[in-house]
């Protein structure tokens, strides 16, 4: 029973990280119908930026904020410079661009920082809480991870639901032509949306880096888990992505704890296949309503 609770809590923590990656993917998919395969590489770059600043300033907070700011800028630049030219072209073009960007960023990071994995500091202790004399898997840093992702989700939700900017973002995402006819500068909204998504990804990168170390390819598995979580949630729905990530985090934690960690990647695939077989639109399809 203790083991079950232990695994559940650690599943919540990794689910939170998947959630942040899934949100980054969903935000872009919902707005532009593009799966951003470069997301893993983008959050790798911003995590390196964070790492550099933590090393040079000695402040975790500065490094954390620098990674976020880096994400915002990187996302906006990618949209303006690379995605804008393939807008309204066949979808495959955009997919190829994101794959190319992935390759480019991974190579660039290798040139600048080398391939040797480097450690990344955790914000708080990664030593599990002491419960009745035994250490559980869940550590103060996991509390931090969960709280940051919850704050991120609430922040994004509030931004989209309660602000004029969020309303414009949603309008541009759902129907860009009508949004434009209502005076929304749709291009700017797409740029902002990519920036916001990359910022969300950057948060995931900084949170997961202490447990995977930092190297040009160390975030690839996280991107896959995030992608599975996003698909579980329907790919279109931010709340769906959160639930999908929680489900995936728990399932993978139980599989890893009871059956062995070598089965975890396969378990993610099995979960994906089962959901796609039973509910191809994901657990939370966005209602399209009836067309009159």
């Amino acid at each position: 029973m203790t083991k079950f609770i232990d695994l559940t809590l650690s599943g919540v923590s990794s689910g939170a990280i998947y959630a942040a990656v899934a949100l980054a993917l969903v935000l872009i998919w919902r707005a532009t119908r593009i799966v951003n395969f470069a997301q893993g590489a983008m959050l790798m770059i911003t995590t390196y930026i964070g790492s550099e600043l933590i090393t040079s300033t000695g402040s975790y907070v500065i490094g954390f904020l620098a990674a976020l700011a880096g994400g915002l800028v990187l996302g906006a630049v990618v949209e303006r410079a690379l995605m804008r030219p393939v807008e309204n072209k066949p979808e495959l073009n955009a997919v190829i661009v994101t794959l190319g960007l992935y390759t480019f960023l991974v190579a660039l990071a290798g040139i600048i920082w080398g391939d040797t994995p480097r450690p990344f500091p955790a914000a708080f202790s990664i030593l599990g809480y002491d419960v009745g004399g035994t250490h559980v898997l869940f550590a103060p840093n996991d509390t931090f991870i969960v709280l940051v992702v919850v704050a991120l989700a609430i922040g994004l939700g509030a931004l989209f639901r309660f602000t004029d900017f969020g309303l414009r973002l949603r309008a541009a995402a759902f129907n860009s032509e009508v949004a434009e006819l209502l005076g929304v500068r749709v291009g700017r909204m797409f740029t902002a949306g990519w920036g916001l998504a990359a910022l969300t990804g950057a948060i995931a990168g900084v949170l997961v880096a202490p447990s995977v170390f930092l190297s040009p390819n160390s975030f690839d598995p996280i991107l896959i888990s995030g992608f599975v979580a996003a698909v579980l949630g329907g790919l279109d729905s931010p709340p769906g992505a959160l639930v999908g990530a929680a489900v995936l985090g728990l399932v993978l934690s139980y599989v890893g704890g009871y059956e062995g960690t070598e089965l975890v990647p396969m378990a993610a695939l099995v979960v994906l296949v089962i959901v796609l077989l039973i509910r191809p639109t994901g657990l939370f399809p966005v209602s399209k309503g009836r067309r009159v």
Binding site: R168, F174, N175, V178, L181, L182, V184, R185, S287
Partner: protein, 232 residues
């Protein structure tokens, strides 16, 4: 207020609009009539900038807007209510209305005023717009365009797919808005009789060309024209 001069639009090799010239004055309705494929929707899409013309000019308030970006044209006070009603189904009724007023925050009306015009919308204010009936969507589209207090309105087939008993009130509302707000309205319709019932001027398009531009009464009396281009 709104002036089109020899406006020509091509889709590839197909000429959809051929040197169309017309004018709409404040406080008046110009109805553009014609069969499917006559170029009516293209006309509105060219005016609002969604499609760029090959030649010719659109001016609004004496300013050339032929190459102005779509969102900027709207911000000048030229609202376009697209065909198929264009409500954003994923947003609630109230969000659709708010969105319409965002670009003119200081001058825009409150959703309450729009609910005053269309009480049916108020009951559904927090529902997704995808749940509205066809008539309610039309009301929402028009209300959403009016909330920013535009100077001119482009209406694309407001009667399309609506029950006849709703078409009358919608047209009546358009006329009322024109008379009270001094709007300039360019109304595109296949339903010629209902459009002409509220219009000050009727323009008939055929294969992208203007074949008639007359007061409604004269159009209705011209049996040959009616028969040829309007199908009644």
């Amino acid at each position: 207020m709104l002036r089109l001069e020899r406006l020509t639009t091509d889709y590839g090799a197909v000429r959809a609009l051929n040197e169309v010239s017309l004018e709409v004055q404040p406080g008046s309705v110009t109805a553009v009539l014609g069969a499917n494929g006559a170029g009516k929707t293209t006309l509105l899409r060219t005016v609002s900038g969604l499609v760029r013309p090959t030649a010719g000019q659109v001016s609004f308030d004496e300013v050339d807007i032929t190459r102005t970006p779509v969102a900027e044209i709207v911000r000048r006070g030229l609202a376009h209510v697209p065909e198929g009603r264009g409500v954003i189904g994923e947003l609630t009724v109230e969000e659709n209305l708010r969105l319409g007023g965002l670009h003119n925050k200081s001058g825009a009306a409150k959703p309450k005023e729009i609910y005053g015009m269309f009480p049916a919308l108020e009951e559904r204010r927090s529902q997704p717009a995808s749940r509205l009936s066809g008539g309610e969507r039309q009301m929402l589209s028009i209300g959403r365009a009016l909330i920013a207090r535009p100077k001119a309105l482009l209406l694309d087939e407001p009667s399309l797919g609506l029950a006849p008993r709703i078409v009358g009130p919608i047209m009546g509302f358009v006329r009322h808005a024109v008379d009270t707000l001094g709007l300039a309205v360019l109304l595109v319709e296949q339903n010629a009789t209902s459009a002409l019932s509220v219009a000050d001027r009727g323009v008939v398009l055929n294969l992208g060309r203007v074949v008639a531009d007359q007061p409604p009464k004269a159009l209705l009396e011209d049996e040959q024209l009616r028969h040829h281009y309007l199908g009644f």
